[in-house]
Structures are given as C-alpha cells and as structure tokens.
C-alpha cells in the first residue's frame, strides 16, 4: 500500500532535534518505508540526521510518502504526533 499525505509543522520550535528524535523513534516502529519531504529535500523518516536537514520550522508544509503493510496506521500515528505539537507546550 502506498499513501501520500501533506502535513504541517505547527509546534513553535519546529522539527528541532528533540522533535525529530520523537518522529524518528515513532517511524522506526513501522515496517513501511516512510519518506518526508519539503520543497528542496527528501528525507528518510527513520534517519534523524536526514530529518534534521529538512530544517522544518513552524508553518512548514511537508509531504509524507508511506509505503508498506502498516502504512495506514503509520499515517495515523505520525499525524497525531505532529498535531500534539510533539508533546511540547506550544
């Protein structure tokens, strides 16, 4: 199964180190391949260095491409993490 979805960074500090770490930990739990990209770069969502290179600050629009058996569940949980502002206050 191949799913695509746009997602927006809403937490204040953006995809900084700690938020990236949370995202990578979550993505690594899934068998599906997960790719996140901005207008310039594509990143393997299981590699923290690649995710940090996206340098996605608040308001950035990202695109997710997820391919694999558990893609639906992955999309759901990743969206939830973004929407929870990576469990940060703002």
């Amino acid at each position: 199964m191949r799913l695509e979805q746009d997602i927006r960074v809403i937490n204040k500090l953006g995809l900084h180190t700690r938020a990236a770490a949370k995202l990578v930990k979550l993505c690594s739990r899934f068998d599906s391949s997960i790719e996140i990209s901005n207008s310039k770069r594509r990143a393997d969502a299981k590699s923290i260095l690649s995710i940090m290179m996206l340098a996605a600050c608040q308001g950035t629009e990202l695109k997710m491409v997820i391919e694999g058996e558990d893609a639906t569940e992955a999309i759901r949980q990743i969206t939830e993490l973004f929407e929870s502002r990576f469990e940060e206050q703002e």
Partner: protein, 575 residues
C-alpha cells in the same frame, strides 16, 4: 614555572594535573590512506561510531535516575544520531572517494551538514547544528582515543583540571559526574556556560585564556586561582606550598559556611535580615535555593536577549518566567531589560545606536520606553507569568517622574489588553524601581511614594556618583563603595523607604561585599541581594554584628573629613 592569565570565575583554588580535551571545531589529524586501506579505515570508523554509541548509552543508563527529562531528550537524540546509518554511509563514502582517515572524513561530513544548517533562516534551528558537531566530536574522540591514547571524557580522574576550547551546554551534564577540579578554556566570559557550571559545582575556572592554552599539555601540574584568574604552570615547591595552605584555608572556611547555611540571618541584637540571590539565568535558581536565599532579589533578563539575532518573543519569555516562578514559592524580583552601556546585543536590532558614551546614553528604561515593541512583549510575558508565583517587577535606571508616568500608562495598557484577551494575570504586581542614577537617589522620597519598593543598584550608582568608569584601568583606583558621597546617597534612599513604608533592598556588588555589610546594616538596610555563592559569607557577618554598637561609628563615618581616620574607622567597624 610560568603563569597564564584569563578571567577568573568560580571559586577557590584548585591544584591538579591538566587534562586536555579536544572538542568539535578543533583540528583533527588529517592524513591520506592507500586505496587498499579503505576497508580497514571504514571498519575503524564503524568501530568508532559503535563505541561512541556504547559509551553514551552506558552513561545514559548511569544518570537516568537522577537527571531531568530535558537531559534524557538530548541524550536520546544524540544516541539516535550515532545510530543513524546515514552517518556511517556518508562518512564511509568520503573515506572511499578522498582516501582520507576516518577522523577527517567525519570532519568533512560534519562541515557538509553544518553548511546546510547555516542556510536555515530560523535561528533556533540553526543553533541545533552544534548538537551535530558534538555528536561527531564524540566519535572523533573515540577514534583518537584508540589511535594515540589521547583523552576522551571517560578516562577523566577526580580532581583533574579540564583544559579545552570551550564548554557546551551538553558537556555540563557530564562534567558534574566526574568531580573535576577546575576548568580552563580559551573562550568564554563571566556569563559563559563554563562560568555557570563552575559556580554551580563550586570549583574555580579561568576562561578567556585564548592562545594561552596552547602552552598546556596533559599531565602538567597546575595551580588555578579562580579569584585572580591566574594559572601557575609547573609551580616550584615554594609556590605550591603557599597555594596548598591557601586551598586548605578556603576548604576550612567553606565547611564553616556550610554549617551556617540553615541558620537564620539574624544580628546579635535580634534584627532579621533578608538575604536574596541575584541570578542571570533561570538555571541558577536551584543553586540559590541550595544556598538558602530568602528569594530572588534580582533576575537579570538580558541573557535572554544576548548572543542571538532575534529577540525572544512574548511566548518564549512567558515560558522562561513561568518556569522560574513555578519552581519556587519564594519572592522573585525580575528586572526588565537593562540593555545598553556594557551590555550590547549582537543582533541587527534597529535603534541600537552606538552612543559616544553608552553609560550615559539611551539604555535600560530609556531604551524600553523609546521602543515599546521591545518592552511590551516582556511586560506582557511578566504579567501573564505572574499567576505562577510571587513576582515583583523592577525597572532599571529610572531618573525622573516622567519615566514613571509613561511606565504606568504602559502597564495600564497591558492590563487592559490582557483582560480584553481574557488571559489570566495578577492585576496587582509590586512594581519597583532600581535606584542607580544619583538624581533618583537624591529624590528617592518622591519615587518612594509612587513605587512599591526600591532597590539600590550600587555598581552604576557608584560609577555615576564618583564619575569613575570601573573598567578604565587609569581611574579604577578611585572606585570606592565606601566614599562618604555613596554612603550618604544610600542612607537617603533607605530613609526615604522607611518614611514611605516601603521595602528597600540593595542588589549591586556592594550588597555581597562583607567589608560593607556592617556599615549597610547600620545605615538601616535590611534586604540584601547578591550572588548566591556569597550569601553564607554575608550571613556569617550579619550574625556577628550588633547593629546598635556600630551605629555611632557609622554616623561618624558620614562626616569624617580626612582620609586616614576614615580608613581607621572602617577597620574598627569591621573588626
């Protein structure tokens, strides 16, 4: 034997052996390898990454229980980076293509990553590139450790003196663990991370040694005098003997002071004195509480604004102030922005003109009232944070009533705005003024009627009163906190407060100077605020003072007209 000089921070004297620590950004060895060595070098790289990860993860396990969530989050992220296959792949590719050693390949890879970060607009995000160089530095340390037997953090022995380029926030977590004896760094100033760490570990440090550290090597015997900022390298027996005796004395005094930490600050004639702490960073709160400060008498907010391009917005400040207030139920006095003069900011901020004489220029409250876009976010953040604790707001550098008029109008506006936006805040926060301009000291009675408290800022008050720039070597011998003019001004402020029935405190360096403690007590001062490290010392002095007995001598002091009897009198008071 030779000596090096820098800025002394932290406390006391340390004697120990030097341990040089290489840090990211410093040079790593660079050499070519043969194409048949490539696989072997990549294996070396793989091992290096692996052992760096092992080492960090073992350390993480070690401190997990006792450290904060914040620390876990950083270490978590660093471990993920070390285990990120991209790191190995990219660096291995550099080894293969350029036929260079693993350390240098990592360096090149690190620089590539840094280049990407430098292109980022967001300053917060950009600052995160340091974390990558730290992680890569760990691997390089591992590799060098295997390679030449050089130091990595894990071999540090208790009491060793760390010699390095600069300390980073993440290092501070580790060094606590090792009970090092002192820090020497080429970079850094009195408010650098090194300085804060040294203060909180209660060890000496000398920062800003610049090229000086090149003359040091691992294993050198060093004497560090944190108070004077001097390093003795390979001291002779006579010097060593002197310093060992001094160090022993300091240890003895420290033990004595430790013993009075939880005793009340009460004079022999039964007056209870409030001893508050001055802090520069919210992280220093814990240390202040450990020193049993009655509260925070001065939180300087400038550090929030310095060393960055963009100024902190309301939300960021709200977060900092709320965290601070939530952490204690003791009173916390936060001073509004005191930029200008010796505290210039980096950022390309408009209106930050370089005046010919910045100390007399548009600074502190003048700057804030001139630029409300700078001032209002801070005041809004303070009002919003006020619900989390016992907050008082203090305004620096006020010199006339018009400034107070304007301030009160702005505060009214802010309360209206917040009420309108339905944001919670305390409407009645004590507002105080810092008395540091002689004009304000002379008219303190007028200020005292309009404000809830006053705090005497002696550093500026003395320099303005005596017309002395303290950092000017040619005149700083004239800097004298006990000049009768200064004492009379201090007295008139204290009297004004007593007449108006509002509290008067003192938050300049004079408040933490035990040579002045008794005199200030006799002048009627009952609230002091100082660096938390000197609270116990001042408390000891308070506990040995009978105010009634010294009052007549201090009265004489204000009218003595010759310099020699004046000094004698001070000696007598302090006996």
């Amino acid at each position: 034997m030779f000596t090096l000089h820098g800025t002394g921070v932290g406390f006391g004297i340390a004697i120990g052996t030097a341990r040089l620590i290489r840090r990211p950004g410093q040079e790593v060895p660079e050499y070519s390898i043969l194409s048949e060595q490539v696989d072997q070098e990549i294996q070396r790289l793989t091992n290096g990454i692996h052992s760096a990860a092992e080492c960090l993860s073992a350390y993480y396990e070690d401190i997990r229980e006792e450290s904060a969530d914040e620390v876990h989050a950083i270490l978590d992220a660093h471990l993920l980076m070390l285990r990120d296959p991209v790191l190995l792949e990219q660096s291995a590719l550099i080894i293969r293509e350029r036929l260079v050693n693993a350390e240098f390949a990592l360096q090149l890879h690190c620089e590539n990553l840094q280049a990407v970060f430098r292109g980022i607009d967001d300053p917060y995000m950009r600052s995160k590139s340091d974390e990558i160089s730290q992680v890569i530095g760990r691997i390089q340390d591992e590799l060098l450790g295997q390679h030449a037997g050089q130091s990595s953090l894990k071999g540090i022995r208790k009491g060793e003196i760390i010699v390095t380029h600069d300390l980073m926030p993440a290092d501070t977590i580790e060094y606590r663990k090792y009970h090092v004896g002192a820090f020497l760094t080429s970079l850094g100033g009195p408010i650098s991370h090194t300085a804060i760490l040294a203060r909180s570990m209660q060890i000496p440090a000398i920062v800003g040694l610049h090229e000086g550290i090149r003359y040091l090597k691992t294993g050198d015997t060093l004497v560090i005098d944190g108070k004077r900022g001097v390093v003795l390298v390979e001291p002779d027996d006579a010097a060593l003997d002197i310093y060992e005796k001094r160090a022993a004395k300091i240890r003895r005094v420290t033990r004595e002071l430790e013993a009075i930490k939880y005793k009340p600050a009460r004079t022999l004639d039964g007056q209870t004195i409030e001893l508050n702490a001055n802090i520069e960073f919210a992280e220093e709160l814990r240390q202040s509480l450990e020193c049993n400060a009655s509260g925070i008498g001065l939180y300087r907010t400038e550090s929030l604004y310095m060393n960055r391009k963009e100024f902190p917005d309301e939300a960021e400040q709200l977060d900092v102030y709320s965290t601070l207030l939530n952490a204690t139920d003791r009173p916390v006095t936060i001073r509004t922005l005191d930029l200008g003069a010796d505290k210039q900011v980096d950022g390309g901020r408009r209106n930050m003109s370089l005046a010919t004489n910045p100390a007399l220029g548009r600074r502190a409250i003048r700057l804030c009232l001139h630029d409300l876009t700078l001032f209002k976010p801070q005041l809004r953040a303070l009002y919003r944070a006020s619900i989390h604790g016992d907050l008082r707001i203090m305004v620096p550098m006020i010199s006339n009533q018009a400034e107070l008029d304007q301030l009160f109008i702005v505060l009214d506006e802010i309360r209206d705005e917040l009420a309108h936006e339905k944001l919670p805040f305390k409407s009645r926060i004590p507002i105080g003024g810092m008395i540091e301009v002689p004009a304000a000291a002379v008219t303190a009675d007028i200020f005292a009627k309009r404000l809830d408290f006053l705090s005497i800022g002696t550093n500026d008050l003395i320099q303005y009163t005596l017309a002395i720039d303290r950092i000017d070597d040619e005149v700083n011998y004239l800097y004298d906190p006990l000049h009768p003019a200064v004492l009379r001004l201090v007295k008139s402020v204290i009297d004004a407060g007593q007449n108006a029935g509002i509290p008067i405190s003192m938050c300049g360096e004079m408040a933490g100077d035990i040579e002045c403690t008794r005199i200030l007590l006799a002048l009627g001062l009952r609230e002091f605020s100082m660096d938390s490290a000197v609270i116990s010392e001042v408390k000891q002095r308070v506990r040995e003072t009978h105010i009634g007995e010294i009052e007549p001598m201090v009265r004489d002091l204000l009218t003595t007209n010759e310099s020699n009897p004046y000094r004698d009198l001070i000696r007598q008071i302090n006996r």
